[in-house]
């Protein structure tokens, strides 16, 4: 099969997938049963509310589920309502205001979070979403709106970061496109797994699955990445290609593709598992790069610089389609998106720039550190989900402590990553400037 044929097939396959209305790339699309609209009136005595969905003039009467009172229903404000159809009619399970009021402290928080998230993305190729989405939710943004707004900011940020790193000669465009094609399929698989778990074990089961996936992936992969980076920094040598990567590079199954920037010649089928895993993880924990980047390094044999840069291309493609999906449901809060973009576009360029100064293993150090600290953050939430499922008991005080641990661990992950990147960049920039000055003097 010629390369042109392969690319044409991939393009056609991609277009077919993109045309599927049920398709959602770069993270799950809006959950079923979630509707946006306004509540026109509430009847406290009857326990019912009149709801008008967005885009229609028709109203529907919803019964309020247990745990929802009339005072929880904001009238004539755009809301997100989780509605379940039952034998006795439609039941309102959950309701929250879609769009938060923006106060000064929230605006400043979003700018700072956006900058640090962008810095991380630009440097290690991924990791913005796991920080940004929970951070937005902690500001009172409903989950779906947080995911949607984050997705809408992710693809332009990835586009800018990916472009910068391609200009620096780090991003392999071909590898990114090939990985994105299979990642998109992986997302579909991830969504189906999520739906299966949600159907059988409900929200608590889904949350537990997400947290355990987080913890497992972050500890195993993050631990290995960190160990590898520490070893390289101690020994002071350049990273070597792993035996697994060398073995996979010998696989001669057509179609063979030459990835110029990565300096690799690989069978297309070798890239498939990594692409699929990236997509599944993106659909599960919204950060496909935590498998994609290490996968490219340790399974394909790409350098950390090329892997983290190429991941941005994958993130752009997945993010763009995910944004369209969320946009179709009207869940993107453009104000949040643009405020995060204001900070992240500065951060991502600085992070991308920083990669031109640092050694390969520093990227692994930052990635490993962030993953391990976030594993602590997510791990702290696991007991709460187990308690929700009734598999263990948890006192309110312990739950509160664990919640605080989770939050501060997330903050620590961001702060640590930001600090390492800043210190290393300043040091290396100063050294590069001193070298240039001595070069100029010796010329002059």
């Amino acid at each position: 099969m010629t390369k042109k044929t392969l690319y044409a097939l991939l393009a056609i396959f991609g277009m077919l997938l993109l045309s599927l209305p049920a398709f959602a790339g770069g993270g799950a699309g809006p959950p079923q049963g979630l509707k946006t609209g306004r509540f026109i009136s509430v009847d406290a005595t009857q326990g019912a509310a009149t709801f008008m969905a967005s885009g229609t003039k028709e109203t529907v009467i919803l019964r309020l589920a247990n745990g929802i009172s009339a005072s929880d229903i904001p009238l004539n404000k755009k809301v997100m309502a989780t509605i379940e159809s039952g034998p006795s009619g439609d039941v309102l399970k959950e309701c929250s205001r879609m769009f938060i009021a923006l106060k000064t402290h929230k605006i400043v928080s979003l700018l700072i979070i956006g900058f640090i998230g962008g810095l991380l993305s630009g440097f290690i190729g991924s990791g913005g979403a796991f920080v940004l989405t929970p951070s937005m939710m902690s500001l009172g943004v409903p989950g779906a709106v947080a995911v949607a707004s984050n997705m809408c900011h992710k693809f332009p940020k990835a586009m800018v970061g990916g472009y910068k790193r391609w200009k620096y000669g780090q991003a392999d465009l071909k590898l990114g496109l090939v990985m994105a094609a299979t990642a998109i399929i992986g997302v579909q698989i991830g969504i189906q797994i999520q739906k299966f778990i949600l159907h059988n074990w409900g929200n608590a089961g889904s949350n537990l699955y997400v947290s355990l996936s987080f913890v497992f992936i972050l500890i195993v992969v993050g631990g290995y990445v960190f160990w590898d980076a520490s070893r390289l920094s101690r020994v002071g040598m350049d990273s070597k290609t792993t035996r697994l990567a060398l073995a996979l590079q010998k696989v001669n199954l057509p179609p063979m593709i030459h990835f110029k920037t990565a300096g690799l010649r690989l069978s297309f089928w070798v890239t498939v598992p990594i692409g699929l895993a990236t997509g599944i993880l993106a659909a599960t924990i919204a950060v496909g790069g935590f498998v994609g980047v290490p996968g490219m390094i340790y399974m394909l044999g790409a350098s950390a610089v090329v892997a983290s840069a190429t991941e941005l291309i994958v993130a752009f493609i997945m993010g763009l389609w995910g944004s369209i999906q969320w946009g179709l449901s009207g869940l993107i809060d453009i104000r949040l998106t643009l405020l995060i973009l204001a900070g992240s576009l500065f951060g991502v360029q600085l992070g991308a720039l920083g990669t031109t100064y640092v050694k390969d293993y520093i990227i692994k150090v930052v990635m490993g550190t962030v993953m391990l600290i976030v594993a602590v953050s997510r791990g702290a939430m696991v007991p709460a989900y187990l308690a929700d499922l009734g598999w263990m008991s948890l006192s309110a005080r312990t739950a509160s402590v664990l919640d605080a641990v989770s939050f501060w661990a997330l903050v620590a992950a961001l702060a640590t990553a930001g600090l390492i990147i800043a210190v290393v960049m300043i040091k290396e920039m100063a050294r590069a400037r001193a070298e240039e000055r001595s070069l100029a003097l010796s010329e002059g």
Binding site: T36, S54, G55, K78, M98, F99, C152, H153, F155, P156, K157, M159, V160, K164, Y168, G169, L320, S323, I324, G327, L328, S329, G330, L331, I332, D333, I334, R335, T337, L338, L341, A342, L345, F346, Q349, L350, L353, T356, Y357, E428, M429, A432, E435, E436, R437, L439, A440, L441, S442, E443, G444
Partner: protein, 257 residues
Amino acid sequence: MSHISNEKSVYPRNGSNRKKILLLTVRPFLKDAVTDYALNLAARLHHELLVLIVDTQWEGAPFEIDAAKTRRSILQKAKATGSECSLIVKQGDLGLAVEGVNRDEKRIEFAIVDETINSEAIKQIALPLFKVTSNPLTQNGGVVMNDERPSRKKKLIAATVCYGCLSAGLYAALFLNVETVMEYFTQGGIYAALPTGTALIFSFAHSAFASKTYSLLGIEAAKNKELRKAEQKFIEKKKHARKRNRPQLYVNPFHRI
């Protein structure tokens, strides 16, 4: 042409047989950048540096005192660079002073003049010469080979301000009409193009602003390691090639024969 009635030399010296470069000025002080350049040039060419300060205004003692300070600093620098350097102070006509030095010293290959000597005065100099200007922005005060540097910075500032205003304008336009924007952007369906398109447009403007801001602050990507190595090799090659006896000079058409 006025004659020198009281031509005198300060710090008289015996002419040596080594090739020389003449650094010429009509002020008692020389800019560091110019002296550094001249000393480096002399060192590279293995020539002796002769500094000639001409008191064309007949200022007398104050001029000589200042020239003495200049002498001390130049000799210190010359010692540090390992170059041979000497300073002569003369009073009177510039052309005659240069002629006198040329006659006494012998083997002056060419002259370097600074900004204090204007084009009229240059006509009086009977030597091949270079005019050197110093630019505070260059690190070594060398010849401004690229006059575009100040204008390049101005262009960068202008671009940063433009993109900054564009970005600020877009944000202001959106947030001042936030109710209308949110009404349309959250309608779903075909309106999905609005938030995605807006994010793209904002990202073009704002990322350009961010990029220019970093360039203005001097925060730029490191040079490619291969490029740096290639630069170093090129510089080494140039250093070896510079060991020629006579530099390529522009002959002053106004020299008196």
